[in-house]
Symmetry: C2
Subunit: 231 residues, 2 copies
């Protein structure tokens, strides 16, 4: 019997990943830092974006891409702050994909952007499986969602670059075991030495400055890298 | 040119819907009332189920099917109340499907069950697209998620049989425009005269009794129907 070729099943995500790679290259060439912000519905993605805009608008040129299954409520909130916002409506789709981001990117003058904030669809499951080509993945948890979420949604809590715990102003009114929550986060990210965690309240402003410093630091690292590779 | 057959694209959901129909028939034959409970992560699905168990355990034989992408935290909470619970792990899947429910149902003695509570995966998008064969669809919203959710997740808010707004004890600490929220719900369900809305707090017990009466009423309607069709 002649030797047969063994068929290789290609990764189902490869088409998406290829486009993500193209996105990344475009962003890198223009020196844009792109951050993918993921969370449950109502955890505070847009509020965190508003906080970044208010803190950094005088130092960085910021643009926002809003992903929603319908409507443009969040894009309007961003535009009210005088910041450029592009709305992606997924038409029922439960996550952003690299191709959607590519179409949005192609509408932008990337050379005029320092920081691109991408608000993913509100969903604690599917977005984690789809690379976009952004540089950093940020997950926003919130106190009212409960302390057991890392254990119940491990794919989302695993491998993000930063974790924000929002709505800490509600801690006095909710049974939330902080130690149990953070143990879950730690267990899922044991191999990761770089996970940054920020306890914040967009409502009171508590903890926001540390989170803003993290964004500034990521931008500095990117700029240093660009300078190094150019000299 | 001879007349050609026009190919008909079969509804992608039809395989699921067929199994859902089988599930419904099995449930009906055994006189089980099955309720599909959907919500965002952390809106309070398990807490609402616990409230139903505590209120009705002496009058109805209750079983719970728990859907999660990983773990069995919620099934354990239910079992701690001495109630039978079956865990469905979707292995990363973002919603329950009729086939998953069928496999769970086949493990149960349906004749020994009056009320079957099905906790769907925590997700405000995908579960709405998958029929399970249950009799009633219930959506749990929660105050901390924000008042704009009906507008942003219309597929989920449209066409449910009951809507619970949980965590109303947090209203004093959160900017939540109740009128705006309920306008959204109403706009999405204009053709529906039967949508019941319950403002509750699982934490304080406020509003729970009205919600429990709704469950009792659905059970009475089912029993009356069975008596009518048998005589």
């Amino acid at each position: 019997m002649s030797k047969q070729n063994i068929p290789i099943i290609v990764n189902i995500m490869s088409a998406n990943d290829q486009i993500a790679q193209i996105n990344r290259t475009q962003l890198d060439q223009a020196g844009v830092l792109a951050v993918n912000i993921m969370a449950s519905p109502g955890a505070g993605k847009t509020s965190v974006i508003e906080a970044i805009i208010k803190a950094l608008r005088n130092e960085l040129r910021i643009t926002v891409i809003e992903g929603d299954i319908a409507g443009s409520i969040d894009a309007e909130r961003v535009q009210e702050l005088g910041i450029e916002a592009i709305q992606i409506n997924t038409g029922g789709g439960c996550h952003l994909e690299a191709g959607m981001l590519q179409r949005a990117i192609n509408q932008l003058d990337l050379e005029a952007i320092d920081l691109l904030l991408v608000e993913n669809v509100g969903n604690l499951i599917c977005p984690s499986a789809w690379k976009l080509g952004t540089h950093k993945n940020v997950l926003i948890a919130s106190v009212p969602e409960g302390d057991d979420k890392p254990y119940k949604y491990p794919t989302m809590y695993r491998g993000v670059d930063a974790l924000i715990l929002n709505k800490i102003d509600l801690l006095p009114y909710i049974d939330f075991d902080m130690e149990y929550f953070k143990l879950g986060v730690t267990l899922l990210n044991q191999r990761l030495t770089t996970l940054s965690i920020f306890d914040i309240s967009c409502r009171t402003g508590e903890g926001i400055s540390d989170w803003i410093e993290w964004i500034q630091e990521q931008k500095r690292i990117q700029q240093d890298f660009i300078v190094e590779t150019c000299t």
